[in-house]
Symmetry: C2
Subunit: 96 residues, 2 copies
Amino acid sequence: MDDDALDRIFKALGDPTRRRIIDRLRERPRQSLFEICALSFAQDGATLSRQAITQHLDMLEKAGLVRVEWSGRTKLHTLDAGPLRAAVGQWLQTHL
Amino acid sequence: MDDDALDRIFKALGDPTRRRIIDRLRERPRQSLFEICALSFAQDGATLSRQAITQHLDMLEKAGLVRVEWSGRTKLHTLDAGPLRAAVGQWLQTHL
DNA sequence: AGAATATGCAATAAAATCATTGCATGTCAA
DNA sequence: TTGACATGCAATGATTTTATTGCATATTCT
């Protein structure tokens, strides 16, 4: 876990929209982009465009926090807490 | 600890320069701006201007991660790990 | 095949971040 | 009281982030 990886992970966590996406993916894995958009609107009242959500998901994926799996024409997103654990374990724990 | 506070904390951690400042303040508290600048140069070889460091320290202070104390003409900075613990405790631990 | 569905790609544009430079202010010390 | 020291404030600019819009591609269903 190098410095750039820590950057990506902490930056990914530094946005409330992305934290809520993580919240929901933790409650239920394998959600499609449309499901995430619908829940963002239903639960947060957030009127974000689909592309905005896509870009957030891309960041989460590049940070290694979200894994992707294709099923036909739908892209299923699943939370991977591994990098989160690694980041906390390597960096945060020495500072607490 | 509201959403904005989490934003400030995680964004503060999302920059390598700030993480190294935290590292150093953890090893030794009550460091002045000049000390931090000097060590940034000596240890990292980073040629950051004094103002750049000042702005990073401001962000850390606004995130509640650094406490400040004046001693004459020098401003002493000290790490406060409390908000870090709170953020990890409230948000991260439910996701690990 | 044609229509509806689910997503990707690309070009913006506004706002925030990161770093710099120049000048000003307050404090200590000779 | 002058000079050196430690920091603050403000303006600027480059880069990144955040969100939008429009069009394209691929898959499923009838």
